[in-house]
């Protein structure tokens, strides 16, 4: 079964962004430039946080609007990026209603989650976890 990242309990998020740093680190960098996951406040920190992850849609709008087929639909849901085909047009990012397609600051190409779950290992409060696709959990993102 294919895996995907899921937000299991947003209310436990403290906004530390350890997941974002973990994603970049797995790719070999410090900083946040290549993070494929986002944490932002829900309209001010008083109101808590929103964790933005790719939910591995079975019929992903990002792939549907890609003019060069750079985003390949993954069996079980979600997409894989073929960077050599990408022309950095940004349509995929606009098409994702969750804002889960982040863009590389330098190249303009999308940063696509590979559903590895490394970020979840660095969530100190079990906000996110790697799950099998097609399984619905409470507070499903």
């Amino acid at each position: 079964m294919a895996k995907r990242l899921s937000v299991v309990d947003m209310d436990r998020c403290v906004g530390c962004q350890s997941c974002m740093f973990a994603c970049a680190r797995r790719q070999g960098d410090g900083g946040l430039g290549t993070a494929c996951i986002g944490v932002r406040s829900a309209g001010g920190i008083r109101k808590g946080f929103v964790v933005v992850v790719c939910r591995a849609c079975p019929d992903p709008p990002c792939a549907n609007v890609c003019p060069t087929d750079a985003l390949q639909i993954r069996p079980g849901g979600g997409v894989r990026l073929r960077p050599e085909r990408c022309i950095a047009c940004g349509r995929c990012a606009e098409a994702c209603p969750f804002g889960a397609v982040f863009r590389d600051h330098h190249t303009g190409k999308p940063l696509i989650c590979v559903y590895c779950g490394y970020c979840a290992r660095f969530c100190p409060y079990d906000v996110i976890e790697l799950q099998e696709t097609g399984v619905l959990h409470h507070a499903d993102g």
Binding site: C16, Q17, R25, D29, G30
Partner: protein, 584 residues
């Protein structure tokens, strides 16, 4: 060689000319690392001797360091400026998202010079500086509103920091703070008043970038160990469970919790303002600074009914910490939880430093009790221990300043006592109001000698408590040497902008290994030399601006109220200060 040199870039913004420039300052960052070390170099360089703290010549330096964005808990920004509160070195640290945002925007330090003719706020994004009109934001009643306007108006959500001042900063209360991410502050020594004098309402820093590392595998390995320690080490547990508010009951039980202007060290209402009580009845949310898994920020949910409208309530989220609880709780004799939270909220709305505010009000209450002032001065407010209503109104009047008395309170307790008397119970050290520990001589010696007269300089209260627990007697020489050693090492940590709560997990070897990942090879000897040198540089700045250790005022009250470490006198403290300065 550093793998990335953006942390050595200094952005200088001129508010008078509305210009900016970037310089790479490897000469500064190469030897003095970042944070405190870089900031004192840049402040000494850019602040003319004798500068008016509220004049355009007084720069604001914000500095971060090479580990920010790489390792957890390297999460602080160091602000340095000439303090309008003390007329000397101003240094204040804050977390939130400030440090990560500055580093991710591609800077190691930001210097803000000059003054704008009309209110502005700044937006730093993509290598540019935008000067935005803030006329409409000037005079807003609540600092919360300023935050929400900037949040909605500017981009970069999730990858930005929003620093702003409240009314207190606009009108120049000398202990006005700068608020970042609603619940963190550059609280102490009046950075907010410096912003206000520059007509600078806010600063939004937006950034997202990659930081290359020399050896990704070694990087991940070191990171994993630090992350593990931060999330599971007993050294960090107190910060994520009850937060710093866990100090309240232990301090109270040994008689070290300053109460009613330090007329006592035990507060009979401590239980209801303790970390335990707040967690049980009010804790509504916990927050973290960016890149800190500890999440020590605790917010209390306060539900308030509308008196004449049934079924209408408002629920506020109010941050609390030990120092806040001391300053507006025990120090003012306020033991009712809801009262304490409402006072904290008012300080936040106005944008004041909570510790100075509490100490100023405690002095005013005692001065009224003793007849040094009357209702004429307080403008009719019956300030009295435990009475939150008058205190809340007094906080507003420190900012609205309806008469000469409140104008005096707005300049701190030293100033007010010089005008109205009561210096013996005006609890400031080096011009800065005292923190929430009356543990013994080392605590007081610590904030007399500490470069920013803060409990965070050298943690003298720790020495007192250890001595009290072991039944040992402290000596001036021993205290001075221990304070000095601690303060030197803390210069290293704050130059790396590592949160001091993480001092237990960032030992010398770890610091060295982390620097190596960033591509910096500093030998242990170099690291220690840097700490000692940076501390001397801060004192040199202070001496240049008129600081004289032998002129420090010691309020008699600290000798009169029993402390956990036993009795001590002025001679002990004078000798400790002299010994510290001689060994500096």
């Amino acid at each position: 060689m550093p793998t990335d040199d953006t942390w050595q870039r200094v952005l200088t913004i001129d508010l008078t000319r509305k210009e900016f420039a970037v310089d790479v300052r490897s000469d500064v960052f190469g030897t003095d690392i970042g944070g405190t070390g870089a900031a004192i170099r840049l402040l000494t360089e850019t602040c003319p001797a004798g500068a008016d703290a509220r004049g355009p010549d007084n720069p604001v330096v914000l500095a971060v360091g090479p580990l920010v964005g790489l390792f957890p808990l390297a999460s602080k920004t160091v602000a340095m400026f000439k303090s309008p509160h003390t007329g000397n070195l101003g240094e204040s640290h804050a977390g939130g998202r400030s440090a990560v945002s500055i580093r991710m925007a591609g800077y190691g330090a930001i210097i803000i010079r000059g003054a704008s003719a009309s209110p502005v706020y700044l937006v730093l994004e993509d290598g540019r500086v935008h000067f935005r009109d803030a006329s409409a934001l000037w005079g807003l009643r609540s600092s919360y509103t300023v935050g929400s306007v900037l949040r909605q108006r500017e981009g970069g959500s999730g990858c930005r920091s929003i620093m702003r001042i409240g009314r207190a900063g606009e009108v120049g209360v000398t202990y006005a703070g700068v608020i970042t991410e609603t619940y963190r502050h550059f609280g102490r020594l009046g950075l907010g008043a410096v912003f206000g004098a520059k007509k600078l309402k806010g600063l939004v820093v937006i950034g997202r970038r990659s930081l290359p590392v020399a050896d990704p595998r070694a990087y991940r390995q070191l990171y994993d160990g630090l992350y593990q320690a931060a999330t599971s080490s007993p050294l960090m547990r107190k910060y994520h469970e009850l937060g710093t508010a866990m100090n309240v009951l232990p301090l109270n039980s040994i008689g070290g919790l300053p109460t009613r202007n330090l007329q006592a060290g035990v507060f009979d209402g401590a239980e209801t303002i303790s970390g335990e009580h707040l967690a049980r009845h009010h804790l509504g949310r916990r927050l973290a600074c960016a890149h800190c898994p500890v999440a020590c920020i605790h917010l209390a949910a306060l539900r308030t009914p509308y008196p004449r409208d049934p079924y209408f309530y408002k629920t506020e989220m109010i941050g609390y910490d030990h120092e806040l609880i001391y300053a507006l709780g025990s120090m003012l004799g306020v033991g009712r939880t809801d009262d304490l939270l409402r006072l904290l909220d008012e300080v936040e709305v106005q944008g004041l430093d909570v510790m100075s505010t509490g100490v100023v009000l405690a002095w005013a209450t005692e001065a009224l009790e003793r007849g040094l002032i009357s209702g004429r001065e307080t403008d009719g407010l019956p300030l009295a221990w435990g009475e939150a209503g008058p205190y809340r109104e007094a906080i507003r009047r420190i900012v609205s300043q309806p008469n000469e008395f409140y104008r005096a309170l707005a300049r701190g307790v030293d100033h007010a006592a010089a005008r109205y008397g009561g210096a013996d119970f005006a609890l400031a050290f080096g011009g800065n109001e005292m923190p929430g520990y009356h543990t013994g001589p080392a605590a007081h010696a610590g904030w007399l000698t500490g470069a920013r007269h803060s409990h965070l300089d050298n943690a003298g209260y720790g020495l007192d408590q250890k001595a009290a627990a072991a039944g040992e007697t402290l000596s001036p020489d021993g205290v001075a040497r221990a304070l000095l050693a601690e303060e030197r090492w803390r210069q290293v940590l704050t130059s790396l902008v590592i949160c001091l709560f993480a001092r237990g997990i960032y030992d010398e070897a770890t610091v060295q290994a982390a620097l190596a990942v960033a591509g910096l090879d500093l030998a242990p000897g170099d690291i220690h030399d840097a700490g000692a040198r940076i501390l001397r540089a801060k004192h040199a700045f202070k001496v240049r601006e008129g600081f004289r250790a032998d002129e420090l005022r010691l309020p008699a009250r600290i000798f009169e109220t029993a402390s956990p470490a036993g009795p001590f006198d002025e001679a002990f403290l004078r000798e400790t200060v002299a010994c510290y300065m001689a060994n500096l």
